[in-house]
Symmetry: C2
Subunit: 102 residues, 2 copies
Amino acid sequence: MKKTYYAVIFTSERTAGDHGYEAMAKQMVELASKQPGFLGVESVRNENGIGITVSYWDSLETIQQWKKHAVHKIAQEKGKQQWYHRYSVRVCKVEQEYSFER
Amino acid sequence: MKKTYYAVIFTSERTAGDHGYEAMAKQMVELASKQPGFLGVESVRNENGIGITVSYWDSLETIQQWKKHAVHKIAQEKGKQQWYHRYSVRVCKVEQEYSFER
């Protein structure tokens, strides 16, 4: 049986202009990837600035650690000040999973 | 306390060309929205054909009903035959949630 793991669904709407967002977004993915418990990330944003990022983690504890990471905190603050009109974060337990590949 | 609800994370990579995809995708969102237990949907695809759709449901049972819906089944079949290089479906229980709005 597959080990329990968690998904963090981050849905957002960007404000206009970059204002350092792209560089910070890239840095956050790199930094998250090095955290304990990180399993993977998938991220898509469309031409209207609507984005969904899903990151996968081994426990609620490692998700909390990443949320509280000092550098991530700075990014979160910039996100509220400048980068996002709105966002939602949902921490979820993955209950079932299946895939298709051609 | 907020009622328990579920998220279905559908991540995918499209093949080239439309082949009836856009019309069917629109129809599936409309049809899903009318199903018992449907709470909402967010969907983003970028210029590289990578997409993430998250739908929200009130129970695992209503998710299963939608999965088995006759018209949805036809769309799923077309998805495997033609529209997707790959996809993954993750059924998740939402454990925590928070939002920001400007």
